[in-house]
Symmetry: C2
Subunit: 315 residues, 2 copies
Amino acid sequence: MYVGIDLGGTNIAAGVVDDNGKILCQASLPTKADRGAEAIAKDMAELAKRVIADSGLTEKDIKAIGVGSPGSVVNSTGTIAYSNNINMKNFPLGDIIRSYVDLPVNLENDANAAAYGEYAINGKGSECFVFITLGTGVGGGVIIDGKLFRGFNGCGAELGHTVIEHGGEQCTCGRKGCWEAYASVTALIRQTKEAMEKNPESLMHALAEKEGKVSGRTAFDAAKQGDSAAQEVVDQYIRYVADGIVNMVNTFQPTKIVIGGGISKEGDYLLNPIREFVKANDYNKYLEKTEIEIATLFNDAGIIGAALAAKSEIE
Amino acid sequence: MYVGIDLGGTNIAAGVVDDNGKILCQASLPTKADRGAEAIAKDMAELAKRVIADSGLTEKDIKAIGVGSPGSVVNSTGTIAYSNNINMKNFPLGDIIRSYVDLPVNLENDANAAAYGEYAINGKGSECFVFITLGTGVGGGVIIDGKLFRGFNGCGAELGHTVIEHGGEQCTCGRKGCWEAYASVTALIRQTKEAMEKNPESLMHALAEKEGKVSGRTAFDAAKQGDSAAQEVVDQYIRYVADGIVNMVNTFQPTKIVIGGGISKEGDYLLNPIREFVKANDYNKYLEKTEIEIATLFNDAGIIGAALAAKSEIE
């Protein structure tokens, strides 16, 4: 039995996870990201204790605590080198949690933890497995021979921060033209707003008004109802996503690529054109092809992945 | 002792290589790529025998033959799935060479073999090592934990075929906007010709006339002599190269990236602005940084790499 903790900018979520990746019990707290890192670390430990107790277990039943955290995470030392949205710099998060709960703590970058969760549940046995999350940003994780690939300094697999448009849109990372700046929900909302401005008659206006805002669903929903301007937004957005996915295929030739994050809820509507685009553009035309699937763990990927990554580290 | 064979579209080069990657003796033959694959394979075996004899050795002194070949190579079966420029399709090259010389044969993609050579000589101990070759095309190879990374089907690490300009220049692979279409020698020549057309007064015209053609050196040489149009070509070309290198850094966070191929002979003139660009654009701003170096094996990388990759496979 393991505890998985998903540290986010808004909430800290924790759960007790069994060896098969099933969540037995979970709970969450607001992160209150603007307070000190020490207080957040203490709350993470308290939340771990709470879900252990709520499961009717004691610390002796738990083999390790796994944490997924945003930012640059150094797994080997249990340190957050830097995290933008929770104000941590060279912060020994592992040691501090351990000072409250005497269990081994394994730290991973949040996208890596989610990737490991999807791998453990949907990709077991894949020689190479790539996870892409299309959310506020575009995150990625790579598992090679069953091990999380982190690069020599722990900061690898920032797949959203690969440029697909040289000199293009400004990215939050400082570069111009990153995949994230075209394929994230944030980018889709920008693209939707631009199209709305040019197409005052589009159904997107009515849908956005009904929802109270332009969201990542506005263009998809309007396109499904036959709106041509929305269809153009969706088609171009999918080409951006798929072009980046072909980059990942040509780089890794993974056994499987799994797509998660908010946009992945579009299911086959998103997946089918991506598969077609990849088939037409993959460098490999003669050997077995990468499978492309939609993620299945959604919001639980963080907790499950953090727990199972900890399991794989202590085994 | 090993034999390394570098199979190219123009020449077959082979050499006897010692355990430290030193070539003891080498020889080459024209590939005559338009003849049948069988005849090419036979010549490769004959050339191996010749360099063994020329070194004063016998087959008993050789532990294995390593081959680097263009195309999609299946290492596990010793088969060329497909090669564009030597007309091989599902061709059991390993078995056929072995029918003439009774030694283990290890097949690698040529860029992977060269990558392994550079790794073995310049990157030993690197947890992750990336090799980029800027030649007629842009090739790549990745070594993770001392092992060549090939993807699940053997066709991975086609780093030149990652798009850096969505919908951009046509690439030979069928996609639009690949890194290869901006950072290869072929691309540099195209960029140079475009600038020459716009700048009839540029020194590039005189240099090209002297050389009898526009080459990958034309813009670099003219820029070094103060030609401003040439300097613009070089600056933009280097930004294309460097943008792709940052993509590789953010993807792999390798311990080291080594740049080879014809353009790498520009040395520090190429390397210094790349290092500056990478420093400014790397996602990792707080952890140890990837080292970036120029390759040292040049034309011998293929023979040495093929031999040492074979050595690592049989060890």
